[in-house]
Structure formats: C-alpha cells, structure tokens
Amino acid sequence: MATYLTTVRKNDPKLNYLLVGGGLLLLLIIVLFGAAMLGAERLPLFDLTEQQRSILFDIRLPRILLGACVGASLAVAGAGLQSLLRNPLAEPYLLGVSNGAALGTMLAFVYFQSFEWARPLLAFAGAGAATVAVYRMARSRTGMNVERLVLSGVIVTTFLSSVIVMLTTLLDAAKLRSFTFWLLGDLSQSTMNGVYISCGALLVGTLVMTSQAKALNLMMVGERDAFDFGVEVGRVRLLVFGAASLVVGAAVAASGSVGYVGLIVPHLVRLTVGTDNRYVIPFSAIVGGIFVVFADTVARTAIAPRELPVGAITALIGAPLFIYLLRKN
C-alpha cells in the first residue's frame, strides 16, 4: 500500500492526501459506531429503555470519546517529538513526559482527591516539569545534541518510575489496587468532564503542533539547516514540548499510561503518506483515536462482564506490529 501511494503521490499529491484523510475519517466514524454498538450489555438499535439510554450515554459513549481523544493525544505527541528529535524511538514514555504526568496525577490522587481539577492540572505540571528537566539536562556548553536528550529522557523516566513504585508501596492497600490498574492504562473511570478536559487539550495541542509542522519538516533535515532557513529553533522546540506536555498530561490524568500508541501510530502514518508533518500530525491524531477505541472495545468485551485494562491490549497489538514494521523496513 505504501509503495502504491508513493507512486500516486507523484502524480497528484493534494488529491492523494485528501483521499487518505477522507478514508481515515470514514474509518474513524465506522470504528466509533462499531464501538458504540458493542459492550458488556447488548443494546437494541432503537427504542431504548431509560436504563439502556443511561448505559449508552452515561457509561459507554463517554468512554469511547475519551478513548479517541487519549489515543489521538498520544499519537500527536509521538509524531511531534519524533520529528523534533529526529529519533524514531522518541515518544512521551521514552522522554519521561508520561511518567511526569503519572506522578503528578498520583500526587493529586493522594493529596487533593476532593478537587476535581487537581488531576489534570498536576498531570500537566508533572509532564511539563519532566520535559523541562530533560531539556535542561540535555543542554551543555556545546549546545544540545539529540543523543544527550534521549539519554536524559531515559534517566528521568527511570527515576520517576522508581518514585512511582515507591509511592505505590507506601500507599495503603485499597488505594494501591486502583493504582495498579490505572498505571497499566485504564479507561473505565471515564466521565464527561474527563472527555471535555482531554479533548479540549487535544484540540489546542494539535493546532499548536500542526502550526509548527513546516518548521518541523525543516528541522528533520537538521537543526543547523533549519536555522539557516530562518526557523527559530528554540521557539519551535518550546512550542512542541509545551503542546506534547499538554496533551500527554490530560491523557494520562484521564486514563493512566496507555502504551505503544505514541510509538506505533506515527510510524504507520509515515509509512503510508510520507514524512510531511502537515499531514503526519493530523493523520496520526485520527489513527491514534481509531487504535485506542478499537483496543478498548476489545478490553470491554473480551471477557465481559469482567474487564481488561486497555493498556494491556495496546501493548499486545503494538509490540508485534512494531517488530513487524522493523523487519519489513
């Protein structure tokens, strides 16, 4: 498919992007409808009772919408960070952004449980703080290089992981149980408020990220070249890091750590439409939404009426898929 599209693109790139974008949107709509029809409870298409309406509108739909926004957020962050750092492995997890958000959420959970906004706010603060920490560690007198940045990310990630593990050990048993589930990525606690926060953050983050797409395209060639072309490298970096922290913070606060989305989705998109970030970023958002909604539908229905954490499903699909892509290239 990739080769087919590459040949088409030479003939009429605009039309090709339009086709792929339209096709992906259609697929997203189909997946959303399919997810809405499937669940632990079987619902009729028409004439729903009051209880069935409540199941559909209060429980199932918020969860599906949140899944779509969380998936889109992680994929957009992954696409932006990979281009910025010119490293195909860059994604929110590797760079400590997710763990920063997780730690923030955890602190909100323990100390500010009554304040509903505390979770997303502290998650964003955590994601931002982790990003700033990584960024500052990566800077040296000779400037910043990518290897140093990725290394700093790994160090911050593992450090924050240890703090999280220490905290879960110190928390009492009842809180621990909900947390081990949440750390794996779990969408069962979806509310409409969570949807507004996460999808709002996604909208802002995607717009900011896409606005930097042209600059990112130049920076993929090299930061010095980009600078020569008049790109304000520092400003682009700041905006991309900020947008990534925003969307990842909101996503992690709502659903914990859903893995592999930020890694696998931008790769799939680049294989299909090439590397132009003006398309890779919005297309990644759509594919990320599709991927997580699909995975969560499996999590909701596979062993119904019991449930699996969605993070287990994304990893189960994501890991083999990633290995396949690696071998294919």
């Binding site: 669940g39 449980q113 809180k175 909900s178 069962s188 909701r300 119904a304 009426p305 019991r306 449930e307």
Partner: protein, 315 residues
Amino acid sequence: MRNSLKLSAILILAAAVMGACRGSTVAPNAADAPKHEPRAVTDDMGRRVTVPAAVTRVVSLAPSVTEMIFAVGAGDRLVGVTTFCNYPEQARSIAKIGDTMTPNMETIVALRPDVVFVSSASQLEGFTKLLEQNGIAVYVIDPQSLPDLYGKSLRQLGTLFDKYDDASRLADSLERRHRDICRITNGCAGRAEGGTGPAAVRVFVQVSREPLFTVGRSSFLSQVIRDAGGILATENVETAFPKLSKETASALNPEVLILSDSEDNKEPNDAFKNAPAVKNGRVYRVNADLISRPGPRLIDALEQIAMDLHPEKFR
C-alpha cells in the same frame, strides 16, 4: 590484586560482625524448653504437617489467621504478624514481618517460629520451600465458608495449640449464631440447588468504587449473602474478586448495595444512580475488615447483613 585482598578482608570482617550481632539479638527463651516427640497434624488443605509437641512460637501471614489464633486463646504465642493485622488491639504490638504477599523471609526466620500460618495456595507455593529448609513448619488455614471455619479450621487450630476446649467452645458459639441466622432468614439451604426462596434479595457487594470491583461466585461472601437471605446479583460471575463492567453493573438493578467500608468506598458507583437500591435508600456499609476476612468476625458481618436485608424479620 592488593585492592581485592583488602576488599575480601573487609567483607570477611563485616560478615563476622554481622554474625556476632545476629547471635546476640536472637536471645534464647522459654520456647527452647525441651520439646517432646514431634507430632503430625492436618491443615485445611489436608496436608500432614509435623509440629513440635508444644507449639509456642508462631507467625501469621494473614489478618484473618491472626484473628483466629487470638480467638482460640493462643494470641500470646504469636511472635510475628503482617502489617495488615490490626485486630484485636494486642496484635498491633506484635513484631511485623511485612505484608501478606511480600513478607520478609529474613525477619520470619530470625523470629525462629515453630509454625508459620499461611492463608492461601499462592502463599504456600511461594514461601514453603524456604521456610521448610529452615526447619519451620508451614500450616495452611483457608476456610471456604462459615461451616468450614467452625467445623474444621478452628477445631484443628485448637488441637495444634493444645487449646481444644477453648476452640470448640468458640466454634460451638459461632455455629449456634449461624444456625440462629439461618432459622430467621431461611436462606442457608439453597446452595446446592443454585437458588434460594422467592424472598431472596438481590445484593451487589461493592468492594471498591473506582475502579469498580465486586465479588463473584467463588468468593466466600457469595454464601454469606445467601445465608443472610439474599443472592449476589453477580452470582454468575465466576471470579472471586472481578473488576466489573459498569454497563453490566448498571443493568443488574440490585435491590441492596453493600459497601465494604473504606476511605475510598463510601458512596455507590455512578453506574448505580438509577438502581432500586439507591432510589430506595437501601445502601449499607459494612466494616471492610469484617467482610473481607474469613475469620471469627465473619459471623458479625453475617448478622449485620441479615438485619440489613430483612429488617422485618429481626423486630
């Protein structure tokens, strides 16, 4: 070369010092009085366990087991308990060996118990080999129901501790209280047929609000709810402690909600907002320690739940 020599000298010295410390902290005591012939007893899993004639130093790896040992009058022989063991009050001042799933083996071995009590097959699998290598007997206490508890577990504990009279007095009283409840609710017979009388109230037990955990058929609470004159709304879920889909929870329409009372489980999950239980104000909180431990206080939980389900029968 010279460095490595220095290092090994330091290591040897450190080991010697540690050995000396260990020798002095573990003081000999009355427990070392001559033990006569070892004897064999049978635990709840039917294993033959060889224990000394007089069992004087024991460690419990579960709060329910700690409560049972105190209840048969052998609490003074407990030398180690878990961090979860908070009842009776005296249990709090006993040395802690870690929690139920991650006990500290060094601490346990250093306490030199005759017997370590475990409460599940997974604990048995995980710790038995190491403990037995150190000459410590491992005994399983795992009652699956109230009749198991008073008919078997407590009486066997009595034999083990040479407290048979105390244990059977306790067991008899639990059995009497259980029978009284059965007589009033008429709920205790229905297990084999898989159903109870028309009066059975549909009950949902909420173990935690978010994420929504409940109990299923394999939990000992399934039978407790039946005995109390109810039936689990989640009776057809096989797992003991499943995380349940909110959609399913919402469709169950339980008549009564029982909340295992803990800090983050004070209110019903939002999925129950239209359930009869919430609309009719039939939401009851039961002390989480009573409802989650298959020990002697389970009878208190049963009595409370029976009164909550059928207040008319207890006037």
